[in-house]
Amino acid sequence: MAAEQAKVDPMHQFAIEPLFGSANWEIAGYNIAFTNSALWMAIAAVALWVFVAGGMKRQLVPGRWQMAVESFTGFIDDLLEANVGKEGKKYVPYIFSLFMFILFSNVLGLVPLPLTIVGIHPFTATSHFTVTGVLAIISFLIVLLVGFWKHKLHFFSLFIPHGTPLVMVPLIFCIELVSFLVRPFSLGLRLFVAMMAGHVLLEVLSSFVIGGINSGMAIGPVVSILSFVLMLAICALEVLVAGIQAYVFALLSSLYINDAEHLH
């Protein structure tokens, strides 16, 4: 069966492989080897640091680089101003780092050919639930800490909308509590699945391109060319999705922070 041989494993690209330190680096029985995921997160962090450091010149008339950095900080500033109000100012560093880190990891994961020829395969750190889940839990913990710090036990009134009839209070409380507790889960899941689905789609389409050429049938090249055109379009869509998912993560985090600051 030729079809059996040509079958690609679209999940292989998400395999986490230890690069070094897999021997006996352990904390409480868990291996903490430096993996390809950790490497690409570190690359994203360094790239982000270089990007922001290059724009810190504070010139009165900004150059191109400074303008790029300032448009990003201004964008996050406006986002928090619109969603949280003037108390949102103190969350700008957090939301900015969150947004930029997710954006850089997403985009770095999409870097195509030049690197793969040398044998370096870009790894999308945000395509793993462990990474996005931790980011979501950080957002959730900030909401909890700020909420309980600022409103003490009054924070629980977040779960009972104004004007709820007394009979409905226990039911509404339970429903709102569950929807509150599901937030970090849905936040992390959205980012991880969106990135993973896109990369699986690209891999499957690229296997159509290769399979079409190798099939030896007359219609093979036609299938290849059509798949390749579709793959280019999907690549463009993936760049858009990388931006939108980072934006959605930052937007929802700021909305949840607004809940903690203002309780409805």
Binding site: R190, I244, V248, L251
Partner: protein
């Protein structure tokens, strides 16, 4: 039916959910564009809500993708 086949059929059925989410996402952006063209002045202020609606609609489609992946690789 063989159990392996049933898993694959279930994963295929889960793809219907992805298509439904496509309708939902299209509806979100379509309605936004329709009303934004009627009142372009108010459109920019609603972009946050546009993306909240998009995120909510998309999440449900992504959940069906997760179901398919669990059926193929985990179950």
């Amino acid at each position: 039916m063989d159990q392996e086949a049933a898993k694959l059929v279930g994963a295929g059925l889960a793809a219907i959910g992805a298509g439904m989410a496509a309708i939902g996402v299209g509806n979100v952006f379509g309605s936004f564009l329709e009303s934004a063209l009627r009142n372009p002045g108010a459109a920019d202020g609603q972009q946050g809500r546009l993306f909240i609606g998009f995120a909510a609609a998309e999440l449900l489609g992504l959940l069906s993708f997760v179901v398919a992946m669990i059926l193929i690789f985990v179950a």
